[in-house]
């Protein structure tokens, strides 16, 4: 391979207004982190209640299960396009103009899209974790006089939370990975920045190596934080005892 390596390119001024290419790439990484954090927050806020709902019979349960099937069986890119191209058309006139003209429109719509997509995955994980807790726990709590809400609050959810730490680690990494899809609606996240740097500077491999290393670093930070959470919750033994009961995961 005769490729002209030029690592000092990162200190050259970038044409997009950033001082250097390094700053441009780092700004992309920051955008990726912002997208990931907000998407994860939406995914948890929507996915955890939905995971509880999906175990119920009747309308609520069916609705939660339908939500999961809907969001899991349409490609994320197609969902992103629905949020970006289709949703604004269905909004009232004033809101439509606001969404279309705001420079942050794509970022917000993309984050919402990724959040609601990931919520379906979190829902399935929460449901699997709750199903992995033996029925005796529920029966014992009810026999002790706890109401259903209290049973979830004090017995089932704390146990499910501990079971969920390892799967949540890979879900958060998935959210970071999936956030790259947002570049298709024009958000300058990490992959888009690397692509832009490659187009401006022609230093293909330096750009993509930088992006790769930054993604690996972000993943490393997630793993470190989640491991700390696992140690703090202090239930290694609890998890390994129930590991065999855990449901399969997908994706």
């Amino acid at each position: 391979m005769n490729y002209y390596w030029n690592w000092s390119i990162f200190f050259d001024p970038a044409p997009d207004g950033s001082a250097t290419y390094l700053q441009m790439i780092l700004a992309g990484a920051a955008t990726t982190c912002i997208i990931a954090v907000f998407s994860a927050a939406i995914a948890i806020a929507v996915g955890v209640p939905m995971g509880i709902a999906a175990r119920q019979s009747g309308m609520v349960g069916s609705a939660a299960r339908a939500y999961v099937e809907l969001f899991r069986n349409i490609p994320l890119l197609a969902q992103m396009f629905l949020w970006y191209f289709v949703l604004p058309e269905l909004l009232p006139r004033d809101l439509q103009i606001l969404v279309k003209q705001s420079p942050d429109g794509p970022l917000v719509l993309g984050t919402l899209s990724l959040g609601f997509y990931s919520a379906a995955r979190i829902c399935e994980q929460v449901r699997a974790a709750l199903n992995a807790i033996r029925a005796g726990q529920w029966q014992a709590a009810r026999a002790l006089g706890l109401r259903p809400v209290q049973t979830y609050r004090y017995v089932l959810l704390p146990r499910a939370f501990r079971l969920l730490i390892p799967t949540m680690t890979s879900e958060f990494i998935s959210i970071v990975k999936n956030s790259a899809v947002i570049l298709t609606i024009g958000v300058m996240e990490l992959t888009a920045s690397a692509r832009a740097m490659q187009e401006y500077s022609f230093q293909i491999f330096e750009s993509f190596i930088a992006a790769t290393l930054l993604y690996l670093m972000i993943n490393f930070v997630i793993v470190a934080i989640m491991s700390a959470a696992e140690v703090l919750s202090g239930t290694e033994a609890d998890r390994s005892a129930t590991r065999t009961h855990r449901g399969g995961k997908h994706g």
């Binding site: 391979m1 099937e69 349409i74 890119l77 629905l82 899809v181 570049l183 993509f208 997908h250």
Partner: protein
């Protein structure tokens, strides 16, 4: 509000399915098959007795699995011409075309995921099987190909098929290197006729119907699998 014109779908159905969906299925089928074969190879390499081989395979699998598919598509889109140049010994990078580049990318990307699926399938096989086949005088290669791999693949069939459904959805990302798959075809027609709303709603509906039907089949299959395995066990 918008006025819908769903006639645009009927007018463009030929292009959507014969061009767009045909490419989506082409990519899913070939990247799925080749990726599966390569995944088996990677799984073997990951359990090699040579530490450097093991380490290289593990690094490849773990790196690919921690990167966004979009970034990997870009990586190979630019890397493949350089590697081809190096292999063929041509004076400059060889333009291989986006289709080949996409096929290579998805094959290599899926291989990492299939590798882990097959490995967990292998790990799920009781030790007795390995000991029994050794006792019966099978050589290591025979033991792997005739005893371990078939059982691992059968046990993991639902997961493998689910991974194929994910691949089918992921092929839509060829959009970033300007290839026209089903979603891309819908987008092109939508742009041309100013009917993006109808086209994107329709393509999402088609993906949903196909993936939902496929996932129900996989669920049935895995239920049948579990029942027949339980029967064998009792």
């Amino acid at each position: 509000m918008v006025d819908f014109d769903f006639g645009v779908i009927i007018r463009s159905a030929g292009y959507l399915f014969y061009e767009g969906m045909a490419f989506t299925l082409f990519l899913t089928f070939f990247a799925g098959t080749l990726g599966f074969a390569l995944g088996i190879l990677l799984a073997v390499l990951r359990s090699s007795s040579y530490r450097p081989v093991r380490w290289l395979a593990a690094t490849y699998v773990n790196t690919i699995r921690s990167l966004p598919l979009v970034l990997v598509i870009f990586w190979f889109f630019f890397l493949v011409p350089f590697v081809t140049q190096w292999v063929v010994g041509s004076p400059r990078p060889v333009a291989v075309g986006a289709v080949w580049s996409a096929l290579i990318t998805f094959t290599l990307f899926e291989a990492a995921y299939f590798c882990e699926i097959i490995r967990s399938g292998i790990n799920g096989i009781p030790r007795g099987q390995i000991e029994a086949s050794s006792a019966l005088g099978f050589r290591p290669v025979q033991r792997f190909l005739l005893i371990i791999l078939p059982q691992a693949v059968r046990n993991m069939t639902p997961v493998i098929l689910t991974q194929l459904i994910i691949l089918f959805q992921d092929t839509s990302l060829v959009y970033v290197v300007s290839l026209t798959d089903f979603l891309g075809a819908a987008g092109k027609i939508g742009q041309r006729d100013g009917r993006l709303v109808e086209m994107y709603l329709f393509s999402a509906a088609v993906y949903f119907v196909i993936c939902y039907a496929a996932s129900i089949l996989v669920r049935r299959l895995s239920e049948r699998n579990t029942i027949s395995l339980a029967r064998v066990g009792s």
